[in-house]
């Protein structure tokens, strides 16, 4: 397989093209050709031992650090990835790609169907976390990297990291799994379903064909984002941040304006999300998370894999106030790995910032990621 690479100047991204590759998806569908948009940071060393793949969460993209040209803001994990940061790009070669089904340059519902001038929209095949990881593995192969030093991700990124450990243990040395789980819980599916219903009941959505009129189901997508955003926070964090404070007024209006700061904040989150994210992509990616389930199979997959995985090291991190992916979910993974005598470290960080903690200022998270990477890299460097 020969991978073609180009640079997209508008997206400020590298694009990898995989042509006539007939990527077989978990659903049974195939995609003939696809592309992945990705960014790299730092330099690959001569032995190619310092490559780290960072996997983004549901609404993330390849702009993990530096400037994001779509939003005009800093990359989503720029506090973690960069020179002298915990994931130090002076030392490591960091790769981050937009997932298959995403909307920041990789093949997804927003992109044109092969050989036509119409976008996929609702015709895009269903993709799963496993499919995303398969596509990423082709990118790593295309970059001529035999082995990744580490795969790191939070939330949906953690799902991908875990999938890497299951599907390609021979191509990685360790994973850092933050705020994730073996499965997407019923409650999580329920929240995603409400979000999808909000999008699909927007009359502008029109079975996913809104792009034909150059329209966007803004109301539906922003409501979906508002709901999701609540699940990323915690009651304590909301209380600390907003309480019952009023927004730009001294007394309540006895109407339905955004009287409260928390309302105004959520409306802003919804509105700004619409400007950067594709509604169909949101449907597909939330579905991919819903389908993620290794609850019954993880232990067996690790124990009886035909692919040796004894060498893998795991760092699992959870947060006390994360009710979307609570600590118990992480502990299930840790227990199963320990029962198989695998090398696993686990920390539950005490914070009130909820699921989103992994994106925010958490010194202990920085410390354990930096230490875990540094010490394990020193071991292979010996």
């Amino acid at each position: 397989m020969k991978t073609k690479f180009t640079t997209d100047t508008k997206l400020e991204s590298e694009i990898a093209y995989f042509e006539n590759i007939n990527l077989k998806l978990e659903s049974g569908d195939t995609i003939d050709s696809f592309k992945l948009a990705f960014k790299t940071y730092g330099k690959l060393n001569t032995d190619k031992t310092n490559a780290i793949l960072v996997c983004h969460a549901l609404t993330g993209d390849q702009y993990v650090a530096g400037n994001n040209p779509i939003t005009g803001r800093e990359g989503w994990w720029s506090r973690m990835v960069g020179p002298n940061k915990p994931i130090d790009t002076n030392k490591f070669f960091v790769i981050c790609s937009n997932v298959l089904g995403g909307c920041a340059g990789s093949t997804g519902p927003k992109e044109l169907q092969n050989g036509s001038d119409v976008a996929y929209g609702g015709n895009f095949p269903s993709v799963t976390i496993k499919d995303m990881v398969k596509a990423q593995s082709l990118l790593i192969e295309g970059l001529n990297i035999e082995k990744l030093f580490s795969v790191i991700g939070g939330s949906m990124g953690a799902m991908q990291a875990l999938q890497w450990a299951i599907d390609f243990p021979d191509k990685i040395l360790n994973i850092i799994h933050i705020a994730g789980a073996l499965k997407h819980s019923a409650q999580n599916i329920a929240f995603h379903e409400v979000g999808r219903q909000a999008i699909m009941s927007d009359p502008i959505w029109r079975n996913g064909k809104y792009f034909e009129n150059n329209e966007v189901p803004e109301r539906g997508l922003s409501v979906a984002r508002m709901i999701a955003h609540i699940t990323y926070l915690s009651e304590n964090a909301m209380h600390r941040k907003f309480g019952r404070k009023l927004q730009s007024r001294d007394i309540i209006s006895f109407g339905f304006d955004a009287d409260f700061q928390v309302e105004s904040y959520l409306r802003y989150q919804g509105k700004s999300f619409v400007e950067r994210f594709d509604a169909n992509s949101y449907l597909y990616l939330t579905r991919a998370m819903d389908y993620f389930d290794h609850d019954e199979t993880f232990r067996k997959n690790i124990e009886f894999s035909h692919n040796p995985n004894n060498h893998l090291k795991y760092l699992i991190v959870s947060f006390t106030s994360d009710w979307l992916f609570p600590t118990i979910e992480s502990k299930i993974i840790v227990n199963q790995l320990n029962s198989l005598s695998r090398e696993v470290s686990f920390l539950e960080i005490d914070t009130d910032k909820g699921h989103d903690s992994f994106l925010l200022e958490e010194p202990q998270l920085d410390d354990v990621i930096k230490g875990f990477l540094t010490k394990n890299f020193a071991k292979i460097d010996e």
Binding site: E343, E348, K370, T374
Partner: protein, 227 residues
């Protein structure tokens, strides 16, 4: 002997009980000090479990395999005989169910190393006798109402429990309060009186694993103890 020195002394004695290239679980591993020592000096593969969040975070940041968790709840996740040694240093007296912990140590590990302060030491006996109040000493420096040490026991108590549980004491080291070291099993009289701290290397009596063969794996089970 202050607290830190006492721990270091404890560690160096534990090290003498451990062979090269073994797999070790350190329960209550703190920030990984003993794990580091055993990796460096014994080429050990180490795992740790630590209840205190900050200490666990430090240990992980220093690159050790450490699980943040509670030994009284989380030991069940480890498989039978998955370690060569399981170490419980200076913590047995702080456990809710010391007997259960002891049997867990020997389920998970082929051998267990347990160290504890001896409540039968003459200074402690004297304090209780003379003052009529619960003793407060250098190795047990807490008042009765805020001590983490909830199960006080003497060397004699420990030996009796081991006997009851069919546990073999392979080696035992005693330390006087002056730091003088001796072999507990060889000193017959006054051991329980003069031992300030004790370290035991334990295993099960006449241990014979039953091997159950399946097509995929061999399972070892230590359910039978032949007398």
């Amino acid at each position: 002997m202050n607290k830190i020195n006492s721990i270091r002394k404890d560690w160096s004695l534990i090290e003498t009980l451990i062979a090269e290239d073994r797999k070790i679980l350190d329960i209550g591993c703190g920030d990984g000090g003993l794990m580091e020592q055993l990796e460096n000096n014994r080429n050990a593969i180490t795992h740790g479990i630590e209840l205190n969040r900050d200490l666990a975070a430090n240990a992980i940041a220093r690159g050790f395999n450490v699980v943040h968790g509670n030994a009284e709840l989380d030991l069940s996740q480890y498989s039978n005989n998955s370690f060569d040694y399981v170490i419980l240093s200076q913590t047995l007296q702080a456990m809710m169910k010391p007997k259960d912990i002891l049997s867990e140590l020997l389920r998970i590990g082929s051998k267990a190393i347990v160290s504890f302060p001896n409540f039968g030491h003459w200074k402690i006996r004297l304090q209780l006798l003379m003052s009529g109040k619960m003793p407060v000493t250098e190795s047990l420096p807490y008042t009765w109402y805020d001590t983490p040490n909830i199960h006080f026991f003497t060397i004699k108590d420990f030996l009796n429990l081991c006997n009851e549980m069919n546990i073999v004491i392979e080696k035992s080291i005693g330390l006087t309060s002056k730091g003088k070291q001796f072999d507990i099993s060889e000193s017959v009289t006054g051991v329980n009186f003069f031992t300030h701290e004790a370290i035991f290397l334990l295993s099960y009596k006449n241990f014979e694993p039953i091997k159950i063969k399946s097509s995929k794996k061999v399972f070892a089970k230590n359910s039978v103890i032949a007398n």
